[in-house]
């Protein structure tokens, strides 16, 4: 009996592991949320000016789509410019703080103090300096988003293994060489992870500024809509903001995977370890 070949047993992969299903899943979840929302609003007879149904929101969004896109573009540009400045400043300051304990000790407490200030309180001051409109929004987006980038880059550089530093220094490497050969590449996974946080808070920054002092942009648009009790339209503003945030997050993720695949090797598989 022992020689009888057993029929090859097919191992069924569970459906939850299916790749196409996984890719579809977030859309299914979003659709389910909207469906529940729609049903809930209808079932409990919630008034549209309290919580509009998704169908009402989409209808309002369609009706006003040019105005929404125009304002969204304004918000997007402000956010993007602020974000680019945040990347530049965050990288430079992060390298300085991460590689020098002198700069770290001197600057870090001040930075923490600054970061604790609620940025919404800064907007009126920015308006005094720059007037109402684009500039305060860009600056607020920058102020909110540079900090996570800076902290992450500094952490990546400051946590270079001391032995690795010794290897390079014993070769006669300068501090700058240690930073460019080891510190910066090592900080890249931290940097890209921080971009995903920073881009979302950059949107928060520009929209806050628009809500307080602007005559264009999604923040201003929502303020106007709600003051006219067009609640579905205000919600449409929320939706487009969140769509922009998801889009930028996705771009940051793709760049991250491209640039620092070595740090995420677990996900792609393909590991092997021959005896050595």
């Amino acid at each position: 009996m022992s020689d009888v070949a057993l029929p090859p047993r097919k191992r069924r992969r569970p459906f939850s592991r299916n790749k196409a299903f996984r890719r579809l899943l977030p859309w299914v979840v979003v659709a389910a949320i909207f469906l529940l929302w729609e049903v809930g609003v209808a079932a409990f007879k919630i008034e549209s000016f309290v919580l509009p149904a998704p169908s009402a929101i989409f209808a309002a969004a369609w009706e006003w789509h040019w105005a929404i896109l125009d304002n969204a573009w304004q918000t997007f540009i402000e956010t993007a410019i602020g974000f680019v400045f945040a990347i530049a400043f965050g990288l430079i300051a992060g390298v300085a703080i991460g590689s020098s304990s002198l700069v770290y000790d001197g600057l870090y407490p001040a930075l923490i103090g600054f970061n604790t200030i609620p940025k919404v309180a800064v907007v009126p001051i920015l308006v005094i300096w720059f007037g109402i409109g684009t500039v305060p929004a860009i600056i607020t987006a920058f102020l909110l988003s540079f900090f996570p980038i800076l902290v992450n880059v500094a952490t990546g550089i400051a946590t270079v293994e001391p032995e690795l530093k010794d290897v390079l220094r014993a070769l006669g490497a300068s501090r700058w060489q240690v930073i460019t050969k080891v510190g910066l590449p090592r900080a890249m996974p931290y940097f890209f992870a921080s971009l995903k946080v920073a881009i979302t808070v950059a949107f928060v920054g520009s929209i806050i500024a628009e809500t307080v002092a602007a005559n264009k942009g999604i923040g201003n648009f929502m303020l106007v809509a709600s003051s006219r009790f067009e609640v579905p339209l205000a919600f449409a503003g929320l939706l487009i903001t969140s769509a922009m945030g998801i889009g930028m997050y996705a771009i940051a993720s793709v760049v991250e995977r491209r640039m620092t695949g070595w740090a995420m090797r677990g996900a792609s598989g393909g590991m092997f370890s021959p005896g050595g």
Partner: protein, 267 residues
């Protein structure tokens, strides 16, 4: 005659106020050019500190360090180092990892672009010598621990350093891998004859590899014994089980146990 490395009554106290740990006290040693010296001692005796003093990474609190006829007052640029942790860069392939010193060390740095082919050929040869042929384009995390350590030793040797400092390079490996690497290291040393200082706590390793073995006392460290290993090269692993080697290991053991039992007074 002067040695290649000369330590003259070197002391090192960690901390700036003079109340930190005294890691080395009046340590004197001499290593000749092309010599393979092993430093053994009880754990925490300042062996790694000794490495840092010799390479100029830590300035000594007292005493003088002379390497290659010059007083050491800054990190040397002629050293290759390897540690227990392979410290390869995960974003570089094995080949690129090994080429790293060439991007930093002076005469090579400026020639690297023009003569990349020649340098790469050199790196390939070195990898072949330690049995890593065919793994040039793999990333460190695709290699086993032993293979990473081989690569780390290649990186320490690529720029033909005149001084090779090895700080327990095989400490984290299993015995079979370790013995394989002893053979690989012996081949490398015989082929290039750098001056080597190997810090280890494996006495068989010291006997197999070194021309001379220095025993350090418990902290604060000091050289308490100096033994020449009279075994012909190239050595074979079986030699470490012959009476001469076993006797030597026994003797070193006794020195170290004695050093552990009677720690000297800290002044």
């Amino acid at each position: 005659m002067k040695g290649f490395v000369d330590l003259d009554r070197v002391s090192l106290r960690y901390g700036e106020d003079g109340d930190g740990t005294l890691a080395l006290q009046d340590t004197s040693m001499r290593v000749d050019s092309g010599e393979f010296v092993a430093v053994v001692g009880p754990s925490g005796c300042g062996k790694s500190t000794l490495m840092k003093v010799v390479t100029g990474l830590w300035p000594p609190t007292a005493g003088g360090v002379i390497v290659d006829g010059k007083e050491v007052d800054r990190p040397l640029s002629i050293t290759g180092m390897a540690f227990q942790n392979p410290t390869l860069l995960p974003w570089r392939t094995t080949l690129a990892n090994i080429m790293l010193p060439l991007e930093i060390v002076k005469p090579h740095r400026s020639q690297l672009k023009r003569e990349r082919v020649a340098y790469e050929a050199k790196a390939h040869d070195l990898l072949a010598l330690v049995g890593l042929k065919g793994f040039e384009d793999k990333f460190p995390w695709e290699l086993s621990g032993g293979m990473q350590q081989r690569a780390s030793i290649c990186r320490a040797l690529i720029h033909d350093p005149s001084l090779l400092m090895l700080d327990e390079p095989f400490g984290a490996l299993d015995m079979f891998t370790r013995e394989e690497l002893w053979l690989a290291l012996q081949d490398l040393w015989l082929a290039r004859r750098p001056t080597v200082i190997l810090v280890t706590h494996d006495l068989r390793e010291a006997v197999f590899l070194a021309d001379r073995i220095l025993v350090m006392s418990a902290r604060p460290g000091r050289i308490i014994a100096d033994r020449t290993v009279a075994l012909a090269r190239p050595r074979k692993l079986a030699m470490t089980y012959e009476p001469y080697a076993v006797g030597l290991v026994q003797e070193l053991r006794d020195h170290i146990s004695a050093a552990r039992e009677t720690p000297r007074e800290i002044q």
